[in-house]
Assembly symmetry: none
Homo-oligomer: 217 residues x 4
């Protein structure tokens, strides 16, 4: 839960009201990420927030609206973290590596992000699509990434014609799939993918793949 959350709260409110809403959002984020939208229990959210169930409806109208609020908060958090990357100040190859490592580490530190997104995709982005906040939170990252790629191309170290969106998706893919699917992959390959060693091997592999792609031969 970061400062973002407070921004959507109506202005002249008591500390208690703020605290209640934040407690609900934190509890809901945990619950939705653990059990999915359908599997989440409003009772459990209230219990873990140590607040009355009725209050959830008072502040968030319905389970679906609460889910959207959680999603918005989750997106706000990653956007905020991205803004601290300062890719423009780095050398192109350095910037790509930085972004790749950031993505990997952020997903590891925020596993809720992955499961919440999976849930929202199961529901075909039904919630996000009606969210105004999400559109306002438009990530400047793609543009920055485009600039980095262009700089790299001009310096002669990156190949040309790279679509920043495709690249961004690929960077995310290589981390996301591994972490999100680690349970089934572990079961199928009979190998624990979540050890520290496995993690560092994976990150190393991902960097090889991404840099192998963007760097000129």
């Amino acid at each position: 839960m970061t400062t973002q959350c407070k921004k959507v709260l109506a202005e002249p409110r008591s500390r208690d009201a703020d605290r209640s809403q934040l407690a609900i959002l934190a509890s809901a984020r945990d619950e939705f990420s653990r059990y999915g939208l359908a599997g989440a229990r409003v009772d459990r959210i209230a219990e873990n927030a140590k607040l009355n169930k009725r209050l959830i409806y008072y502040y968030f109208t319905s389970k679906d609206d609460l889910f959207l609020a959680v999603l918005e908060g989750t997106y706000a958090d990653i956007r905020e973290a991205e803004q601290k990357l300062h890719l423009k100040e780095l050398a192109p190859a350095q910037a790509i590596r930085r972004l790749t490592e950031f993505t990997w580490e952020y997903y590891i530190e925020h596993p809720e992000f992955l499961t919440l997104l999976n849930s929202e995709n199961l529901h075909q982005a039904r919630h996000l699509m009606r969210s105004e906040r999400i559109r306002e939170m438009n990530s400047p990252l793609i543009q920055t990434l485009g600039e980095v790629l262009e700089r790299g191309r001009k310096e002669g170290i990156f190949r040309g014609g790279i679509d920043p969106i495709q690249l961004y998706i690929s960077i995310a893919s290589l981390a996301y799939f591994y972490l999100s699917n680690n349970h089934t992959l572990s079961a199928v390959f009979g190998r624990n993918l979540m050890t520290a060693k496995a993690h560092s091997e994976r990150l190393s592999h991902i960097c090889d793949v991404i840099l192998g792609y963007v760097l000129r031969d």
Copy 2:
């Protein structure tokens, strides 16, 4: 629903029993892939299978067991399709491209596979882990892929030291994430990722990334 399914059914049964079980499995696969495990409704599964709800419990004991049966069938299907690839008969670069394209196309043609796997991961592979069938269905693909990589390396066209599991996961990642998350990605980027053109661009990008990685500079 493929021939695999029949193999596990006990032999001396009326044709109707087989047909009923297959109808339930098909309907359940659809339902679970649409709504997830918690969101799926046994009533709906029965209705769509045009069979009595009681029969589902008669054959599959519980919703969870049915979910596992669906997962097993889904895995059996992809394993069967993989076996038709004949990667060993192809030139190394050709084999990698073939596997990449196959993966992409299989995911497009079987969107249920993606959502079912997401659901199972949400549940931390709880079902797969108690499945004996899954362990018996061990994919020979990784070994084949290892042989292809070795051949490519000996021919001097592939870089050395590639872990076939890492590569396999990466190939899957690049297709899976894009397709599984297309709804949220579309919402966030404001761009429809599911057009034919977008698809072919993505596949092309994936091949570039993967081959850019395996091919020697």
Copy 3:
């Protein structure tokens, strides 16, 4: 299961048919005595009899009719055992003691009898009341007991005016209640009533009570 059971089977039948019916009755007696009428499961009766469920309906029409058949068999068994007492051949006090001990021991050896009777009483003897067999199985015990009491009175050792039915009920009461309610009594008194020592103490007490009543001061 005793010879009684066979008497109700239609005459010209295969050994197999007999065996199936007896297996069902034995399994049903066990099931009903364990779980009561409502708690008993036809599935479990079939399974334990190692026979198809359909056969139960073939032979016994319904769960209720099967319950009645079990009750009738149970009564037939105790009647048969009573007939072996030969109370008339004993001295009066000896006969009363013999009957008391028999009752106690029979209940201990046939706990199903107690629970089946409790079940039937819960249902207000609904089944027994429509049974012709039960009325035909009228116990000659009461009459015998009357004769014993009369003999004892004439010999000057028994008090007069004892109603044999009241006495019979009392003898049964003192054993039945202790054994049937042993679980709750043990829980309430915090004392295990089912040890061999507790049993012999109870029997001794019951004999004291009954003989203390019938014997003249």
Copy 4:
């Protein structure tokens, strides 16, 4: 439903909450005593309590827990009634007679007590055994009875060596069996045991048996 019930309810609740719980308990006691645990229907309990079925689970968690609550209430009631006997203030023979009559009358006025106990015994006291309340409700009756017996012995009118628990069980037995099994006994003996005349004859017989036992010859 007595004052006992209220004691266990948490204090700061609306009067309606109390009333609802008591209505559920009263309705459940009736239902369980009529049909047993397995035969009882939660729907019917709700309907007769004129309350929503959901509320039963809200307050009592499950059918089994509700059954236990009913048992506890039933025991609380009889304990409360016992405490009004004041056996210590009576002459020994008078006290024994008083207890015998009380037992008989209480069972007649509370037939639910008998069937509820039968049900609990069918389930091998599974519920009572996990009840803390029952253990706390330990009856002081046995001790009082022991004192009465000792007084009678000292006065030279009672025989010595009587175990108060055995005697208590016997007094209960003679009433319980007759009343609890009256339906099957009536069916078997072809004689209505529930007329006023039959009742007074039985009570008279029971007193004769019990006093015949305790009084010195």
